[in-house]
Symmetry: C2
Subunit: 388 residues, 2 copies
């Protein structure tokens, strides 16, 4: 699957972004717009304290039709009570007025600190005039939704005559369960809202839902897909394949840019008795602070891999069948540390990507999880996030 390094929007989609005064400097407000109504689906966080935009978004998406998405960064509008819901409604209404549609066709998202009132007046005045600044470059929109991301995130690919584009933000408080982070997917393929919903859930199951930066599940996770149909009908199988591959690639991009991260971790578990167990073990590996610090230090302390498998107490394994490798180098054989030269393993652990591959040899199921290493940078960013 080819992904454009210079992502473009599908036909009929554009965006703009601005500083509206929530951040001291830098873009803090983004607007994504389709020229025409688009079929749409969305999935949201399972956190029991969902943000006001998530509560409103669940209501909005029932209509299955969207014209636009408005997003602010820095303040997440979570744990803000009735006033928070009212502010989310005002934000959607302000964007709808600017676009020239109704509030029930606009998703409003907010990301940032939990528990701080949304500065709704800044957003209402900030959104005015954004339709005059629309651009065809998704990176502008991606910039306005960043929090601790070190770079804006967008990619696009082709499916037949159609284009598929993803704009996202990641960084921290990321272990999605039914959805993830902020992810907006745009296509000009013609697909029904029902099909979009099914395909989005299936694609997220193996991509965003297998991502963890820090085991903490955001209260704002939102993933929206809009299909405006301007490129006509495409083969749905091909579209799903492209969607899934693009979601996995964006998952890797987000993992690589996790807070403080210096490398992408991919843990693949094969030969498990069922997919649930394969997913559990893969997640255990990428969530283990001791595996993550081993990755950071390129320290050949590979016994930690067995620890992280073994702490999944209820899985089916046969200890003496377990094999593991790091970037293709065998480090565990038959449940024991393999004979190897430390320096060769140290070399295998270096680099921007660490693939940990496990063979359990007790079944046929497999899964891959995505994460990053744990560094001083994560601690530094999060010890003073509110105050900075």
């Amino acid at each position: 699957m080819h992904f454009d390094t210079q992502p473009v929007f599908p036909r009929g989609f554009r965006c703009s972004s601005r500083n509206c005064g929530i951040k001291q400097s830098g873009r803090d407000l983004s607007l994504f717009v389709s020229d025409v109504d688009a079929a749409a689906a969305a999935i949201f966080t399972r956190n029991l304290f969902p943000g006001a935009p998530v509560v409103l978004g669940r209501e909005t998406i029932r209509g299955g039709v969207l014209r636009g998405i408005v997003v602010n960064s820095k303040v997440s509008n979570v744990a803000t009570g009735e006033q928070g819901i009212a502010n989310a409604r005002r934000m959607a209404a302000a964007a709808a007025a600017e676009i020239g549609t109704t509030a029930d066709r606009v998703i409003a998202s907010s990301t940032g600190v939990i528990g701080v009132p949304l500065p709704i007046e800044k957003i209402e005045s900030g959104v005015r005039g954004m339709m005059q600044e629309l651009t065809a470059d998704p990176m502008f929109g991606a910039e306005g939704i960043m929090t601790t991301d070190t770079h804006p995130k967008a990619l696009s690919t082709r499916v037949g005559a159609a284009t598929l584009t993803i704009v996202a933000k990641g960084a921290g408080m990321i272990e999605p369960d039914m959805a993830t982070m902020l992810v907006y997917i745009f296509t000009d393929a013609r697909i029904s809202a029902t099909s979009l919903d099914r395909m989005l859930r299936d694609a997220a199951f193996v991509s965003f839902n297998m991502l963890s930066i820090d085991t903490d599940t955001s209260t704002s996770d939102t993933c929206v897909i809009m299909a405006n149909g301007l490129a006509g009908v495409v083969d749905e199988g091909a579209f799903f394949d492209a969607l899934q591959a693009a979601c996995i690639r964006m998952t890797e991009i987000i993992a690589s840019d996790g807070e403080g991260a210096t490398k992408l971790l991919r843990a693949t578990v094969r030969g498990a008795t069922d997919v649930t167990q394969a997913r559990l073990i893969a997640k255990s590996l990428i969530n283990s602070p001791l595996v993550k610090t081993m990755a950071y230090g390129a320290d050949p302390n590979v016994g930690r891999i067995l620890m992280a498998i073994g702490k999944c107490f209820d899985i089916t394994i046969e200890n003496d069948r377990v094999m593991a490798s790091v970037n293709g180098f065998p480090v565990i054989e038959n449940g024991e540390r393999a004979q190897f030269d430390d320096e060769r393993v140290r070399a295998a652990l270096a680099g921007d990507v660490l693939d940990i591959e496990i063979e359990l040899d007790v079944g046929e199921a497999e899964a891959t999880a995505y994460g990053c290493d744990l560094t001083e940078g994560y601690v530094n960013e999060n010890a003073a996030y509110y105050s900075s």
Copy 2:
């Protein structure tokens, strides 16, 4: 409950420790001995890759009688196959010969790097003569079992005519489930092995099993209790109360000295529908990297408390009844961030201990979990643990 700052052994217990050449310098081998046979019980890690000493220990403890415990640090004898089991047996036999008992009355423990062969010859020659160096100071034994602990850990208390003494090591790879770390409990009270087993499990349930430094469950967790009866019979209720209080205090000592830790975190959840849910939520709070870094930075980013509750997807809560305080200062009221002055919360978050108290107001159950903050120190220690 009073704990002696200068811990002493119960009658008939002594220890010695040495450098036997596994570590470059510092004590790496400890021997704990009772003058007479002692009733005994033990609990071990639930990790599916238990170390060879754990496999052997489960067999040994079935006899319900112990004379001694031998422990080495630096190498854990985990993931070492049949040779590892044979080495654990040789270690117990060598200590038994030195004590003048049989190998089935000695628990051998090892702690340190996973997957490295145990240097059994160093231990066999190292243990010879240790009976000539026995001392009544538990701190000597505590020193020989340290890995990344910054100080040796022991405490003692009185129950009637008897003494209860705990020697332990902690530091990292700690989220015990059925047992914990290395913890050795000695008493001269006369109690049956059956009663010891029941009391040890009950005490661990609310102490060591509610401790997490880093969510990683050690392959070597072992907790042993020996009662040699030299002080005669004591009231079992009073003994249990002392045991539980001592285990909780040792849990706090271990948490405070977690790898890189600057403070103890205690999360108490009240008003839950059942104890399982209360324990789950309390653990979620002390395991959240974002709560832990908030504690480290004394950053008033208290919305993260709601996030950590809400990511326990299957609990029963009513969002607008949830209250939370930090060191007595209310920060969440009715599921929303309370109105407060940031500087006052920053002051409340400072200090060596952070108590996070949650009131769910949907039931009567409660639980407390113990942990520590997450700092650059944790990352530094674990990015090169194998190599250092």
